[in-house]
Subunit: 336 residues, 4 copies
């Protein structure tokens, strides 16, 4: 089996780097319409084949897997071509630029019995997986709320809002952790740098179980922030992806009442119970993700981040974008 990577721009080279070290692959083909970019790819990865002709790549029967890392607006059309050519398809997040396109891809993959996987890379990241394990073991108790920050060093996109650029990560992580989808999404934000391209947004999410979440996504930030706090009935967990040493910390804590009748002192306490930072594997998420994709092709398993997972995230993105534009909350029907 060979794999083809379509799109050798910003993210493609990372996929290529991962794929060339997969021993189960007989070869990697890279397809891009720009020959100069392909030349660079050859310099860096001399073992790959390159092509500017997607039809030619898709007609190669040895190419069973196609990985799409192109601008969002082309995810739908290119995914469709690859699925129609009976390839197993991996598409970078978000799955497509609209709910309609995402649904089309899901249906086409199911009809053709092909693997369709979306690049929700964080679902393959050890700290995110550890956090799900902690939640599902009941260590935190009932979840009350989740506060997420994903803010970047001003790497601006020219063609989409910060919601479509950064929130796919947070939505996919939230749905992966909670195993439910929102009933309500509202959003508040601003286009600070380029007119009509929101570059900061605060997104509120309410789930059927009662859990609420606040997502702060921004391109303009003092420093890279990747901080998520999950507050539960029994314990609380902080996941900070910019930390080297303690990416996940679990805080033991009860609820105290500040009794207005008590004789108090200036409160100096900064915490209450123990704090535990569990050991986390240092495996690379992208490598885990690529292995999972190839494994699903070989075994017929449904990917953890399958087409339906991609569709749920696209639906949430559309809702957040609409809420931001109209100023009104968007109500959704929960998805399985």
């Amino acid at each position: 089996m060979k794999a083809a990577v379509v799109g050798a721009g910003y993210w493609g080279p990372n996929l290529i780097r991962s794929l060339v070290s997969q021993r189960s692959l007989e070869g990697v083909v890279v397809c891009d319409k720009d020959p100069k970019r392909l030349e660079l790819i050859k310099t860096r990865f001399p073992s790959v084949d390159v092509s500017t002709d997607l039809d030619h790549v898709l007609s190669d029967r040895a190419v069973e897997a196609v990985l799409i890392a192109t601008p969002i607006s082309t995810h739908g059309p290119l995914g469709k071509r690859a699925l129609q050519a009976k390839k197993h398809v991996f598409i970078e997040k978000p799955l497509a630029g609209s709910k309609a396109e995402a649904e089309m891809l899901v249906e086409l993959a199911e009809r053709n019995d092909r693997v369709l996987m979306v690049g929700h890379t964080f679902e393959y990241s050890p700290p995110v997986q550890k956090t799900r394990a902690v939640i599902e073991a009941g260590d935190l108790g009932k979840i009350y709320f989740i506060s997420m920050m994903r803010v970047n060093l001003g790497l601006h996109q020219r063609d989409m809002s910060v919601i479509w650029d950064l929130a796919p990560h947070d939505f996919s992580i939230l749905f992966y952790w909670l195993r439910e989808t929102p009933e309500m999404i509202s959003a508040f934000g601003r286009d600070c740098v380029q007119k009509n391209i929101p570059d900061v947004a605060f997104i509120n999410v309410r789930f059927p179980s009662g859990v609420i979440a606040n997502l702060e996504v921004a391109w303009l930030a003092p420093s890279k922030l990747r901080r998520t706090a999950i507050v539960g009935e029994k314990k609380m967990l902080v996941y900070d992806d910019t930390e080297n040493i303690e990416k996940v910390k679990i805080y033991d804590q009860g609820v105290n009442f500040k009794d207005p009748e008590s004789f108090g002192e200036f409160q100096l306490s900064y915490r209450t119970g123990d704090i535990v930072s569990p050991r986390i594997s240092s495996a690379e998420p992208l490598m885990n993700e690529m292995e999972h994709f190839l494994d699903c092709i070989r075994t017929g398993k449904t990917p953890s981040s399958d087409g339906r997972s991609g569709l749920r995230v696209v639906e949430a993105l559309e809702a957040a974008e609409t809420a931001l534009k109209t100023g009104n909350p968007v109500h959704l029907s929960p998805k399985s």
Copy 2:
């Protein structure tokens, strides 16, 4: 001149501690209806006089300053009595439990020509003052947005929402920095622990200048968080009150475009320009605040956090509380 502290509960002893070391005062009287609490106060501060009778305290002509540190619902009535007795009055934040009461206090103070000051302590805190100086020097350029987190170790109040408990700090800081008041406030939250007492809220604020802010206030948190990020056109500033060494940091940074045409590498950069953490005085905010109050009484100056400042904050709190209850944004007319 003597000063009287009314209310020897949670916060009162901090005011007493500050006042007993003010050399300009001839004495401090503490008034509380609970004699046991007064006994404790005498043990800790043997030099103060105590009384359970507010009328008696207010009739003492040597008592020119009255400081009220009682539950919020009593701020209005007690403030009124003190002002009617022609005292200069300091009231703990928030100024009052409703806009109507706050307006009454402001009018009464103006009519009687007395100093009315509200305990927006952070306006007297060196890092908050330094931040205003940085903003006003133009170092950050035009402000784009502000993200504030104030989350606590589960010190629950029984009689009011987390908005009335914690957001007075953030609103007073915001208005102090920006010198404007909101045109719109919306809020999203939940009552996790006690029914009908919201203990987590995400508040969105829009100012006439276009600046937006997001306030996260919560009683339930993994650890005390006091983090504010101000993102401006030129630079960004982070103020973290839980930091010992670097409470204020200023980040130099431009805006970069992630060009989809460029040949990229996995982005490892965590920051761009220099980071500067300016020297901050270690003076105690409460001490600064008490000195300012006594100084305003002596000189007739208007306090930095005067009654009108307190009224603006109360109005914002009412709006946030309404927005939280109704789910709809509240539009306000900007105040001077």
Copy 3:
């Protein structure tokens, strides 16, 4: 019982503050030869009595406890006068300026059957006590080595080296944790700012059990550092006194061999096992210390940091100072 504080300079006011809130005391007398300083004390602590005459204070039979917070060179003579007057005596660290004086104080206290306690405040600090509990529970396994840093913001003393100023803390903590005294001490350092006053020193210590320690003490430092790492056979512990939230952290960790035969990757791992930061009481060390002193007087218990403890530390300081001057290690006979 009354207590008298002798010396109202740099540290004395902290003792006074602690003592005036001790309900078991009937009164506090402050003695200093400088009347101006006593005036300041009266302003801050109106309830205390003051005197410039030590003989007068020592002749007051109600004064059973005397606390000495004067320059080191006077600890011996003043301690002697207080013990001869049959007072229970607390002396700030180090107990005395020489081994001979320290021995004299210990003998005098034993002969007169009085409590003699030295102000090794850190032995009363919750994180230091927690660390001893962790060691004694065997959680760390056999201790291998201890690395301590105590560096300060350039608060220079004019009359003694950084060793006498800062190392009493580290020696007292080490002896408290390990329950043994050194067999060898060597030292290396420099007088950077004032000729003949060493302001940075690296002290090596070897204990009979085989444990070794390195102490870095300096007045000149980029920021206050108070970091101690204890490396044991099973686990390791870091105690950082400048941390607000996680003063003590325990690291689970095994020993791995870097096998030169293995096929390696660039090592990205920053840690191995879990990290636990146990809950630590936020009680104030000085308050604990004062309560312990008064309790020992009342009950006749031997203080945890008694005269012999002070003597052991003075002996280590003398050895370190000698080692620094001569460049040669000093060998000691272990003490009980």
Copy 4:
């Protein structure tokens, strides 16, 4: 020009990864006596040639550069063979296992007019280079002392002490910054885990200029520590290689005297002046190093970390090892 990497064990693959992306090279040959390891290399880097026969590799005239990444004891003999074959030679740190061997390599390279470079990688690391620039601009003033910590997660070597494993980094960095070599080295340490293999050492170094340094090197540590503090007359600098965001920080600070006559308060200040964290390039040190080596071959320039630099470090390592064994300081004659 082709390059040959000798040794495909722990570090070799990192050199190979760097070299295959160097466009100025026509090819990379990897030589190892173990065919299995070469197979793995082919899987990961399909474009390289492999060989188990060093003579064959050295006889290839296209191979102008030879990079040696084998166990330390073989650096001398293998380096000699490569230099005798008229190759330009790069040897991983330390240059050789003894001063005599290092001298032999230096002489041989000079006689044959070949480039001899040692892999003091940190000299090619942006924060280390930035620190030298800050020192040489005089920003810190006269340097007083340097405190270095390099402690690792228990990756033990079986055949050498922690001094030979970790201290080459610190010595090379120190000599690179200060442009001088020590006049005295002493050392203190212990073999905690394996008999006769010291795994923790505290090394004291004195330079002719008066600067002193303390190096803590250990394999057993709670977490990876890479912290260096440079204290100067005017400012101080901290370089922490485990930090993502602020690897280098410069602290503005004066010297204050703690006047025993002043009336003090409990000292709460944690710092004095401004702190600046300058922007640091995120270039990879190893890539810089490989480019520099190839550039020196092409241009005839002397490498920054040339053979003499390697010799100076080996001499310091030998002195530290001797000092550790004998317990006595070793005096050295400064080198150019």
